[in-house]
């Protein structure tokens, strides 16, 4: 477990099992989960999660393995719908509308809420076709030039264009791990999402590739709402504005990243970020 670089003040002991304080209503909230419960079959893995994720901010989800970070992230674009036996209670509101309401078009929701996975998963196609995939299935382009323009713009946004512009039509699988991950980011950006969910996007990468992804997240923040799961405390401290600490399926504490990493309200949070458990 990594130590934070930030010195911590003496802990304020909180004996009882902590419950996240409900944040004040915020008009800038892009997605709000409220009272969210999640079940895999009979097993409840998320319990009463209430969390706001704001526009143009990076929200980091941290917590020990198995605490439900990925599960929570996947409720935000209804990716758990395809898991048999999975069930959600509570609500997730995107731009004022509950994404679990009956009338919601899941396909369109997933286009609006993009996702980047822990392990890069490019399609076994060319670099160009990977980025064009989402544009094609969503019929977002009018002409070949339009398509090419959007592919280039997405690759530029993902800071990959210069490395691949001469080999757009070669296989994406020949790229390095870090490049593949940026390709997956480009692919997600191509369909013009409003929210970007990233599940440990840099966990399989070396420090240099990780740094590039972090810089990228920092740049993308001005245009998207970003939610990122990470096991790396320093990464969370570096890239995020807000941090949410999950523990055994509960949201223990959430707040400004600077606050969480310098003066966490809960003893549990402090123990976790200082590496005393997890």
């Amino acid at each position: 477990m990594l130590q934070t670089a930030v010195p911590l003040p003496s802990p304020a002991a909180v004996p009882s099992l902590p419950v996240a304080p409900a944040p004040a209503p915020d008009t800038a909230a892009k997605i709000t989960a409220s009272g969210l419960d999640f079940y895999y079959g009979p097993r409840r893995v998320l319990e009463q999660i209430t969390l706001q994720m704001r526009r143009n901010e990076v929200t980091a989800l941290i917590g020990p393995s198995g605490c439900g970070k990925s599960t929570f992230l996947r409720t935000l674009n209804r990716m758990n719908d395809i898991v048999p036996g999975a069930r959600v209670e509570g609500s997730v509101v995107l731009d004022g509308r509950d994404i679990y309401a009956a009338a919601v078009d899941v396909v369109d929701l997933r286009r609006r809420v993009g996702m980047v996975f822990q392990k890069s998963n490019p399609f076994p196609k060319s670099i160009f076709d990977n980025v064009a995939y989402g544009l094609r299935i969503n019929r977002m382009t009018r002409s070949r030039e339009d398509l090419e323009g959007r592919v280039e713009a997405s690759l530029r946004s993902a800071a990959l264009w210069d490395e691949v512009k001469d080999r757009l039509h070669t296989s994406a699988l020949a790229l390095s791990g870090g490049q593949q991950q940026r390709l997956c980011i480009a692919r997600a950006l191509a369909v013009e999402p409003e929210v970007l969910l990233m599940d440990e996007p840099a966990s399989a990468l070396d420090p240099i590739a990780t740094q590039r992804i972090e810089e990228l997240i920092y740049q993308l923040k001005s245009r998207y709402t970003i939610v990122i799961v990470t096991h790396n405390m320093q990464q969370a401290a570096r890239v995020s504005d807000v941090t949410a600490f999950f523990w055994l399926g509960r949201l223990v504490e959430t707040g400004l990243t600077t606050k969480i990493f310098t003066a966490p309200a809960q003893k549990l949070t402090e123990d976790y970020i200082t590496g005393r458990f997890g």
């Binding site: 395809i82 997933r110 998963n121 399609f123 296989s171 020949a174």
Partner: protein, 320 residues
Amino acid sequence: MGRVGKKRSIDLGFRLGTGAFALVLVVIVCAIGFELTRQSMLSIEKFGFDFWRTEVWDPVAGQFGALPFIWGTLYSSLLALAIATPIALGIAVFISELCPNWLRQPLVFLTELLAAIPSIVYGLWGIFVLVPAVRAFETSMPSALRQLPMFSGPPLGVGMLAAGVILAIMVIPFTSSVAREVLKSVPAAQREGAYALGATRFEAIRAAVYFARTGIIGAVMLGFGRALGETMAVTMVIGNNPKISASLFAPQYTMAAVLANEFTEADTELYLNALIEIGLVLFVITLVVNSLSRLLIWSMARPARQDAAAVVVPAAESAA
């Protein structure tokens, strides 16, 4: 040092051992080819390459040509492939992607059961059920269509169509279960990647099928290999007439069927040699078909090594 040396020698021994087994396979293939050639020498010397392109098969006159059998084998196998492939892939996609959990195991069991039925039983079913059905289908065909070369000839029931259908039914379990395994081995991340970009269920399945394409071609070729060599059921419904025809209704003949039917009747050396040469031709064609499919799979897999390694590519089965 000693331990490392010992490890090395075990490693070397292992490589030599497995290498030897691989070599045995090559030797067996060569030995079969050699023996078939040796046993058919009379016929090879008498007819030479003409054997491959002569249409006459007349044991009484001592005239032997393999062309009608080559034609019949390829025609029936390709027909079977054309019928079986879409159905088998449909079954595989349904079982692995669409079907509710409780139905999956029963369906898998059923397809496996189909694969376990002996060829002769298929043949009997063919004679009593399929052939009359095909005959009824043939007689009900409008006469305008019957003018086409594909549907010409009397409606006998036995013939190419019945053979193609029965082969298709026999091939479907193999192709579909291999295709199902291949689809199962596609990482969930591929489907989720597609869903995350706004794919519909259909589009996500297409992404999975695309990922598995080399393995699926392998599954289809496996079916083709089986169809090429299938003997008993085909012999019972194809009509056994060594006459080349484009018609689906015409009774024809396959290499495997003529071997099964006439081997015991071969009363002259030349006749016997000609039959064995038919076996040789079947052997060569099977080898060529398998090599071509390997080549196809290999050339597709080359630009995308990672995905090819992730799915099993079944070896098309030798049928000779």
